[in-house]
């Protein structure tokens, strides 16, 4: 009721406030629906992430293992050398798609796995451990690209969800109660004024009758 002091208790104001309250209510309902839809979308994506993440981490750790083997078998300097020589041409197609009005990246990876000869390092001076490591890393990269798409999508949706939730809460717990209490205050005040007026008229009428 604290905020109710600032309004003039007039019929005009009452109408305006009622309109605002109705609008706020409508906005609240819409936001609430949006939030529900976002939550569904979000959990869908989180479930997918769980699966992809487990697979990717496994692939990545096996890639690291074969890289370590490569370092051991072929020597550190030679491996770094091969890494420097390797052709670097991996590219991804990124477009965006809309989920409930949020931009979410959609990443399309071109196949990243290549033939050993296409990798660009000298085959003659390198061992098969290097080929193995490269292959594992290419696979891991493909998985990681997929994971990146999902995680970024989840992040965007989560941030939007947070924002929506804040708005819903603001409407539900601050703006709507405020408006409602203001409406109540004005209508009480108007009623009170009417009663005052009524008794005043009665009194005047009595006085007038008494004079005659």
């Amino acid at each position: 009721m604290a905020k109710a002091i600032g309004v003039a208790p007039t019929r005009m104001e009452l109408l305006k406030l009622r309109q605002r309250a109705a609008l706020a209510q409508k906005g609240y309902d819409l936001l609430r629906e949006k939030m529900d839809a976002l939550v569904i979308e979000f959990f869908e994506i989180v479930r997918k992430i769980g699966v992809v993440r487990a697979k990717t981490m496994q692939q990545l750790s096996s890639a690291y293992r074969s890289l370590s083997t490569c370092f051991a078998v072929q020597g550190t300097i030679e491996t770094y050398q091969a890494a420097r020589e390797a052709k670097k041409e991996v590219e991804v197609d990124i477009s965006t798609r809309h989920v409930m009005g949020i931009l979410v990246p959609a990443i399309e990876a071109k196949p990243v796995e290549r033939h050993a000869l296409a990798r660009g390092y000298g085959v003659y001076t390198t061992s098969s451990a290097l080929d193995e490591a490269s292959r594992e890393f290419e696979k891991a990269l493909g998985d990681l690209i997929k994971l990146a798409e999902l995680e970024e999508g989840a992040r965007e949706i989560a941030l939007e969800l947070e924002k929506t939730k804040r708005r819903v809460n603001a409407l539900e717990y601050v703006i709507l109660p405020n408006l409602k209490s203001m409406v109540k205050f004005i209508s009480m005040r108007l009623d009170e004024m009417e009663r005052e007026n009524f008794s005043r008229l009665k009194r005047i009428k009595a006085m007038l009758e008494g004079r005659e």
């Binding site: 770094y80 041409e89 990443i107 995680e151």
Partner: protein, 111 residues
């Protein structure tokens, strides 16, 4: 549109990604150098994905998180474990879920 991939990691991880054909690699040595590189990557228009190891991200700390908050949609930044398989204790996504939904939610994989 085609985008490049970048990796910021320690020397060995970077070697692995270079073998797989990642175009833009940066070996993390000092904080300042890596931050400068990150700014460059985040500002560039043809980098689509940036992989950064958890360890490096942790070392950058606040600076990294601030850049994550203010960055545009692209490039996508994904944190990966390095060869020790080290993961931070709190997952960022779990943290966001906890903050928004108000409860820890564990989604079982495969269901």
């Amino acid at each position: 549109m085609s985008f490049k991939i970048a990796t910021i990691a320690d020397a060995e991880t970077v070697a692995g990604f270079a073998l797989a054909g990642v175009q833009d690699v940066h070996i993390h040595e000092r904080k300042e150098g890596t931050l400068a590189k990150m700014d460059e990557l985040l500002a560039s228009k043809d980098v689509g994905i940036v992989f950064i190891t958890y360890r490096v991200a942790e070392e950058l700390g606040l600076e990294f998180r601030r850049r994550m908050r203010t960055k545009k949609l692209l490039p996508v930044v994904l944190r990966i474990p390095d060869k020790t398989g080290w993961l931070p204790k709190v997952d960022e996504l779990q943290e966001i879920i906890r903050r928004t939904v108000g409860a820890e939610i564990i989604v079982k994989g495969g269901s």
